[in-house]
Symmetry: C2
Subunit: 213 residues, 2 copies
Amino acid sequence: MENKKISKFVLKRLPGYLSYLKSLPADAPAHISATTLANALGMGQVQVRKDLALVSDGGRPKIGYLRESLIEDIEQFLGYDNTTDAVLIGAGKLGQALMGYKGFDEYGLNILAAFDASPSRECTDEGKPIYHVSRLADYCRENKVLMGIITVPAEHAQTVADQLIAGGIKAIWTFAPTHLEVPGNILVQYENMATSLAVLSVHLQAQIKEEKG
Amino acid sequence: MENKKISKFVLKRLPGYLSYLKSLPADAPAHISATTLANALGMGQVQVRKDLALVSDGGRPKIGYLRESLIEDIEQFLGYDNTTDAVLIGAGKLGQALMGYKGFDEYGLNILAAFDASPSRECTDEGKPIYHVSRLADYCRENKVLMGIITVPAEHAQTVADQLIAGGIKAIWTFAPTHLEVPGNILVQYENMATSLAVLSVHLQAQIKEEKG
DNA sequence: TAGATTGTTAATCGATTAACAATC
DNA sequence: TAGATTGTTAATCGATTAACAATC
């Protein structure tokens, strides 16, 4: 495993391997081959092997990779062993759903608090505080928060992003379907459901056309 | 605009153009150039022009594209003018959030009903029915549903997918972080938040390392 | 030793970008 | 006519895949 730059394509495949490896029962064989992994995930063997070579320090010919260390290696590479504190802005339905999702622990993500323009309550179902957005930047600075999750309507997303950046945030995960203008050192990850819907919709159109002849 | 196969990459960019075009005020100029679009979305001019060439029947040199027709062309290409009926399985928080999202109309997506293994209520906040999963396949067949949205835990996702396919569904949008085994003619679109988190997490790790020197 | 599996090097494929020609 | 913009053709870049060598 070397300190090479790893492409986003590889990065996005790693969680798939990880979750499959973790889903295996405790009494499964201690070793697993790239072929087995590839078949289970519907991928090519070579691709899996190449991806794993980037994050692990190698499997053994004829035997495969030690499952336990592979899990550790991927988790370490993805930084899931370090906890990342985050804030969430927009305590609507989606925001609440994310706040309530227990699984983020697994990814080392810890949502500290939610912010909203008009908080109807003081805390979420899970007991996490909901503050007014006016406190956002200060809160981030004071708590050295590095990540912001945006679940506000598109028209407010840029304002929120600006406040997050003013608060010293380094990465933004946004669910608002709009482009954000940010400085070069800030990473924006768009979680845009519209892109998935486009792919699905076009596929269905083609299916319907086909049936009609 | 010809009947060429369009790559998923292009497909995923189209909603971005569309939403930007629609976000422009009514009194904005009737024409818009690829350059303007590219700048607004932080993309390259050539890429935008090439993408648009695939779905529109052309802009005019020196003037650009007619905004109205561009919107129509993209919407038609993506099939947003035809309504797609869908069912959703897993009426948890995420499921409820999706059921309640009004914006799907815009994409021609219409969620008819939700299904759950243990429905605690008979309908959602929005008045859409929640049925027991045992009725899933029959419901899909009877209502000629073509799309299923899976928001159940990973361990139940494959079972649900099988039932959907038995019910005649052609496309699956899944939020469960697990690979689904399906016949070749069924499209599965994975909405996997873990992939986004991986990208974000690695970026933050790098940032932290950098700061420490 | 034989065979399964890893890892690497080369070939292919496709997407993006750059350069240019066409047009209003 | 000049210039902005489109559209196309060629070049580059990077990811995936295939072929091979290394190893236990």
